[in-house]
């Protein structure tokens, strides 16, 4: 299929349809709404269920119900709406049914604003909902990647009976760029052997997240954790740019990674041996690759559109062996490549340390800039 100019939110919606989405449940919220709007037209056209729910609570629990039947289901929202879904996500995780969530992140906390941000990293990557569970989290940096990862998300969700979150931000949701949509897949008509369907002569099936017996619950927890280990083993995805000879490595996901790539290009033009490491699966986090890089580089610069949430995951891998610096913008402010280039140059020119916390250093620099 040829490339076409397409908006991120619309592209994700259409990609989900073509990946065999069987039911969608959602609630309007900026900057995600075009996704819901596109599906509100396309799903009925194809004879597939679409429900605009009464709230995000309703939407995620409709997803929960439909997921229990083994169908391909998804919802989408943006930060405050995703906060409301946390209860449902925990139940879905506790019931071990597959589901896909798209979070088009906006500035926060609270009502915040509708500008692009990455402040949901902790909420999505490190839980949010109660109890021990992990979601697979895919972080696209372009409309094309958002399409490809949306298609992948359904396969991963079903393979592991796990929630997969596509963690975008408002700019990927809102911008148009050329991208190619996948071909239409046929719908899966098989019912998995765990799904509720009405017994029809078979064994009764019950899907719950309740387990009043702590030792039995612990066995379930252990199963989830072992599954997560398998996911960590098999599903790590990332993209590296100019890493082979890099003395310095910028680490950034999604839009922050993409902006950083422009800065890396500019720095390369100036003769600085810098590369970019862009995690695509922010969960499972590409620990091993980053660990290898730690052996070979002089220092890291983590760039995010938040206050340094992924930064902590990077620091856990680097473990003080090399200096790590941080640069972030918050509240829906998107950094310019020039800002990142300045940080790269500072990395090269200024004395570095493994002491203290990079966030503290960044905050004092940022305070001087934005007051």
């Amino acid at each position: 299929m040829a490339k076409e100019m397409i908006k991120g939110n619309t592209a994700v919606a259409e990609a989900a349809i073509r990946a065999g989405l069987q039911a969608y449940f959602g609630y309007p919220i900026t900057p995600q709404t075009e996704l819901l709007e596109h599906l509100s037209a396309r799903m009925p056209e194809l004879g597939r269920p679409f429900v605009q729910a009464e709230s995000e609570l309703g939407a995620i629990n409709m997803v929960y119900g439909a997921a229990c039947t083994g169908k391909r289901v998804m919802t989408s929202s943006s930060s405050p709406g995703v906060s409301l879904m946390m209860e449902g996500l925990s139940y879905i995780a506790g019931t071990e049914v597959p589901a896909v969530l798209v979070d088009v992140v906006r500035g926060g906390p609270g009502l915040g604003n509708i500008a692009p941000a990455q402040g949901d990293y902790n909420q999505i990557v490190h839980g949010g909902g109660h109890g021990d569970y992990h979601m697979i989290v895919l972080a696209p940096a372009s409309v094309q990647e958002a399409i490809d990862l949306t298609v992948l998300s359904f396969d991963l969700a079903e393979k592991y009976r796990n929630i997969v979150a596509v963690l975008m931000d408002g700019s990927i949701g809102q911008m148009m760029e050329p991208a190619e949509l996948p071909p239409m897949q046929p719908l899966n008509t098989e019912t998995p052997d765990w799904a509720v369907r009405g017994t029809h002569g078979g064994e009764k099936r019950v899907l719950t997240s309740i387990n009043l017996d702590p030792p039995a619950q612990e066995v379930m927890n252990l199963r989830l954790m072992k599954r997560w280990q398998a996911i960590e083993e098999n599903e790590v995805r990332f993209k590296g740019y100019f890493l082979d000879d890099a003395d310095y490595v910028v680490v950034g996901f999604g839009t922050a990674g993409r902006i950083s790539l422009s800065a890396v290009h500019a720095a390369r033009d100036k003769g600085i041996k810098v590369g970019l490491f862009r995690p695509i699966t922010v969960a499972p986090f590409p620990k091993d690759v980053l660990d290898d890089l730690t052996q070979n580089v002089k220092a890291f610069l983590v760039v995010e559109m938040n206050s340094g949430q992924m930064l902590e995951d990077v620091r856990l891998v680097v473990r003080g062996r090399k200096p790590v610096e941080f640069y972030g913008r918050m509240g829906g402010v998107v950094p310019f490549p020039d800002e990142v280039l300045t940080e790269i140059e500072r990395l090269v020119e200024e004395p570095l340390t493994t002491e203290g916390h990079p966030r503290d250093r960044w905050l004092s620099r940022l305070a001087a800039t934005i007051g």
Partner: protein, 259 residues
């Protein structure tokens, strides 16, 4: 004549759809009766194997243990949303929620209104026993004015704690809700009437007419601090005046339903 020689005939037995285990419900609680009525109706309609139940949070949280049918367990208040998700992808299945008053009329009011207003083809069995049973008898949205509960120890004071919610009346105003009635579990006569209502509610769903709900005034002897008999009398004397029995919504299509 010895007993063994007396010709016997089974005139009453446990419906096969109910699992033959001892329930966790308290003595005198009418959850068991309500379960039985639902089970009998599904058997009579030959829908047992085509049904998916949605249990809720509260005393009926383990309802899935007692029915030999496919079940899911919703989070608190969200059963109508979960049931919506199931029914939309499996429209040929019979889908019902079984919810208490704390679940449905307090934390889940958004979900029940949403489902009813959309006219979801679901059946809701709504147990109203005027308190939160599972957590030990706290004030619920259905607690009567003056009623003593563990969180209204001097009696529900309406100036401070508001008024009970009349769920059937409230939901009956919604166009998508085509069959909304209130029945009681306090006497054999009313239980028989309740069963007819439950049958109608499931027939409404089977015929694709829209959202149906049967509110059942139910006993909670343990938390009310009464004997089972006193509890039944309390329904009649105290609850029914506040929650009058009746048909709050019977759409013309439902009125014409033959089964």
């Amino acid at each position: 004549m010895v007993i063994a020689d007396v010709p016997t005939k089974i005139v009453y037995e446990r419906p096969g759809v109910l699992d033959p285990r001892v329930t966790h419900y308290c003595p005198g609680c009418t959850h068991g009766v309500a379960h039985r009525l639902v089970g009998e109706v599904l058997e009579e309609m030959n829908e047992v194997e085509n049904t998916i139940g949605v249990a809720s949070v509260g005393c009926s949280v383990f309802a899935y243990n007692y029915f030999n049918i496919d079940f899911v367990e919703a989070s608190h208040g969200r059963a109508p949303a979960m049931a919506t998700g199931i029914k939309r992808v499996l429209p040929d299945c019979t889908v019902f929620t079984y919810q208490g008053d704390g679940d449905l009329a307090s934390i889940g009011m958004g979900e029940i209104v949403g489902a009813a207003s959309r006219g979801e083809k679901l059946t809701v069995i709504f147990i109203n026993n005027a308190n939160y049973g599972m957590t030990g008898g706290q004030m619920a949205p259905t607690t009567l004015p003056g009623q003593v509960t563990s969180s209204s120890p001097t009696g529900r004071e309406v100036s401070r704690q508001g008024y009970p919610i009349q769920t059937a009346e409230l939901l009956s105003t919604l166009e998508g809700a085509v069959y909304v009635v209130r029945r009681s579990m306090h006497s054999s006569r009313e239980i028989r009437r309740a069963k007819k209502a439950i049958r109608t509610a499931f027939e409404v769903q089977k015929h694709g007419l829209g959202f149906s709900l049967v509110e059942l005034l139910s006993t909670c002897p343990t938390n009310w601090g009464m004997t089972p008999v006193e509890a039944r009398e309390w329904i009649e004397e105290r609850m029914i005046p506040a929650f009058p029995l009746g048909d709050y919504k019977v759409s013309s299509a439902v009125a014409e339903l033959k089964f």
